[in-house]
């Protein structure tokens, strides 16, 4: 498959069905991006990092394969 920086399709399917291992994989996959987003005044803000992770996990289950239903 074309882009190696994307999560494989199977993982996405497992995440949306609530597989904790897959969710962990997603967090690991985006950990660098999360840390960059949580940077404040040149250092990583722990609280922000945690809240982003928390929010990301919560929203992962809202991801829908819209096209499938059409």
């Amino acid at each position: 498959m074309g882009n190696p920086s994307l999560l494989p399709y199977e993982t996405i399917v497992r995440v949306t069905s609530g597989d904790p291992e897959a969710v962990d994989g997603v967090l690991r996959h985006y950990s660098k991006r999360i840390r960059i987003a949580a940077i404040e005044n040149g250092h990583i803000d722990r609280d922000t990092e945690d809240s982003i992770k928390q929010r990301l996990v919560a929203t992962l289950f809202k991801f829908r394969f819209d096209e499938q239903e059409v």
Binding site: M1, N3, Y9, Y30, D47, I52, L56
Partner: protein, 152 residues
């Protein structure tokens, strides 16, 4: 069949975008909350060092104990901590102190006190009321610096 290669790739890209968007907006929200909080909060160091707000008080009961006014009533020494009350009490006849003391602290009934002094119950009740009124008046006089003659 929607599960083609193109569809999979589309989902992968969509999911990637979805996650990136979530991360970005949560970060923005966190940043906004922080800056809002910073506007409203005043740091504790600023208050203590710049404004000298006292963060605590020390109790003064033990440092400056009340002045004590020992008064002897019915053979017992009562220590009063209120100077005005002691002065007012001393300005009244001794019999009135005794009645007050017996009634309020000795837990005697008005009847028993009446018997001790050879009076009936209602007289004792009147005397107690009267003494309290006089005490009240006397304390007011003391605190306002005026003096009025009064009669029992």
């Amino acid at each position: 069949m929607p599960c083609t290669e193109a569809y999979r790739e589309h989902i992968m890209y969509t999911f990637n975008g979805y996650c990136k968007t979530v991360i970005r907006f949560v970060a923005i929200n966190a940043w906004r909350d922080r800056s809002r909080r910073r506007q409203k909060e005043i740091s504790l160091e600023y208050l203590t060092e710049e404004k000298f707000y006292p963060l605590g008080t020390t109790d003064e009961y033990f440092e400056a104990p009340y002045e004590e006014y020992p008064v002897t009533i019915c053979g017992q020494t009562v220590i009063l901590t209120n100077g005005k009350l002691a002065a007012a009490l001393l300005s009244l006849p001794e019999k009135n102190w005794e009645i007050i003391f017996l009634y309020f602290f000795g837990h005697y009934t008005q009847q028993e006190i009446g018997k001790m002094y050879g009076r009936c119950r209602s007289t004792t009740g009147y005397q107690i009321r009267r003494t309290l009124q006089l005490l009240h008046k006397e304390m007011e006089v003391l605190s306002h610096g005026e003096s009025e003659p009064f009669a029992l």
